[in-house]
Symmetry: C2
Subunit: 340 residues, 2 copies
């Protein structure tokens, strides 16, 4: 009769598997830059022996650290609600930080995290360097990225939305209303979410047999100001679009302003569709038609993933995408008379 | 030569002053339900001997707990920014909770706070009972109320804005433009901030020799929906107002909708003034004239007060009010033709 096997530490697993502790740490932290054979070998050892998270130098604080680039508008509120809901169920509080592009703020935050030893980190922020990811992993503080600008390449667990599909759906909605001259205002080129929405727009036009006109593609910044400036440009030229896909709700509000300044009525003279469905756009005049991105649910999913990792369990998948939905309100309608 | 006196604990101060430890605790925690003689006696003892905060059972977490009734709209974002700025300077993180009117959430939060032992609590929430205030005081966790519905009666340190003055300024702005039929939509009667804004409105009218017409006073709820419903009522009756003081920005957006539905143009047919100056109302069409309430600075001031208390120092004053300002944008103008 053999004794019940006792769970192994990372060091013991590494020795048995003949790999480094860093590699075992990557497997148990849900990272994907590990060969599938090594991952399978380590996971098999964990199944057989169990895995014992090393005792931390101090007790972790019952805290989820939530990091934003900027605290502005409804977007961080929706995310915080989703994180707080799951955190509360687990008796954790939510710690919020705004880091912008400030390196000293990032460094100070990282020192604070290592001191506080939270249960884990949810980053809605792309300013953490690879070295900072490694530091968190080294201290066994799980990290999940939410709506990352550049996720899939980074091999950190992440949650996003179906951006390409949302771009396709938004553009199809305008096509189905009868629009053919459909403008788009993108976000920054560095944001994969913006690239995906633009690609969805192109594919919808292509499948409808409508040629993509580069003159109708405006380059925005995901801010109201960028939407306003680009909409002015698109709407002031001859053969202006009869509809604009603003690719986020902030830019859609910018389009409303440009239309107002140019004396164009929404939706009579111009249809506008956003992306996000922030609570405030229900109160735009007219209420905004948009693609709903379930930010609170995405945040809740990221928190659940983080808690799974914190419990020392493997993630079933390291990337989750939640579906987007079309929400039709008052800002889209069939095109009116042909534009001059 | 006498030895340097060593600082006294609350128990020692209580013995010397001949009062209870609860009373000394109230003095050092900035509470005001202590007679001025007792307060002076305790403060004199502290000046002479110094005051040594009792050793807590465990090290406090470098955390400010920030509690909201609801995470909705720009308001919690502005507050969080102000708290986070001061917290960061002191190496603290900010923990956020949304408690609504849910007693079990409040109880769970209180248990969590006692476990986490934060540096202090900032409550933007009126749902903590006197017993909960006492529990925090007993555990020497300082509490500061921010923009409380019912502050001055509660004897807890608090920060607010000049609501009466803001109401006066808003109404005077409309009077100076030439308006005489000026409607108001209040918040809930239980909110002192709403009462103060209404009183400022009454006084401005009175000083201008304009009689207060009870028919022009609408009872709102500080939500967009309430503003919409009350504006509909005020604007649909004969002798409608030519201007409405919405008393918060959310209700002002509701007034915009009512005006739009009734075919009234802002500011040509109706002037509208809000209160708060949330970032989003700059992007209303037309941009909203409003009374700016410096929410981030109020939050920063509350955090500084909390940190003063956490350091065991007395507060110079237990109530701070920051001034409000008139911000003139596009939603107010002289009245047009007399209403039918």
């Amino acid at each position: 009769m053999t004794a019940e096997p006792s769970p192994l530490t990372i060091a013991q697993l590494a020795e048995l598997a003949g790999v480094s502790t860093a590699t075992v740490s990557k497997v148990v932290n849900g990272r994907s830059e590990v060969s599938s054979e090594t991952r399978a070998a380590v996971e098999e050892l964990i199944r057989r022996h169990g895995y014992r998270r090393q005792r931390r130098r101090s007790t972790p604080t019952a805290l989820v650290e939530l990091v934003f680039h900027a605290l502005e508008g409804d977007y961080p509120v929706e995310i915080t609600k989703g994180v707080a809901e799951v955190a509360r169920e687990h008796g954790l509080t939510v710690g919020i930080s705004e880091l912008r592009r400030d390196h000293s703020a990032v460094d100070a935050w990282m020192e604070g995290v290592l001191r506080r030893r939270p249960s884990g980190v949810i980053a809605v922020f792309s300013g953490l360097a690879e070295a900072q990811h490694e530091r968190l992993a080294h201290h066994e503080i799980p990290l999940v990225l939410l709506d990352p600008a550049d996720a899939p390449g980074k091999n950190i667990p992440s949650v996003g939305a179906g951006n390409w599909n949302g771009g396709l759906t938004a553009t199809r909605h305008l096509l189905e209303l009868g629009h053919r001259r459909i403008g788009i205002i993108t976000g920054p080129d560095s944001a994969l979410s913006s690239r995906a929405r633009l690609d969805g727009y192109r594919t919808a036009l292509d499948m409808a047999g409508v040629p993509v006109d580069p003159e109708l593609i405006g380059r925005g910044d995901f801010l109201v100001e960028g939407g306003l400036a680009e909409a002015h440009r698109l709407l002031s030229r001859p053969g202006r679009p009869t509809a604009i896909f603003a690719t986020n709700d902030g830019q859609a509000i910018g389009v409303y302003h440009a239309a107002h300044e140019l004396g164009l009525r929404i939706p009579d003279d111009l249809s506008v569709i956003g992306f996000d469905d922030l609570p405030s756009v229900r109160w735009a005049i007219p209420p905004l038609t948009t693609i709903r991105q379930p930010l609170s649910q995405m945040a809740a999913a990221a928190t659940s993933m983080m808690l799974t990792l914190a419990a020392g369990e493997p993630l079933p998948q390291s990337r989750i995408e939640l579906a987007t939905d079309l929400v039709v309100r008052g800002s889209t309608a069939p095109p009116g008379l042909p534009a001059s």
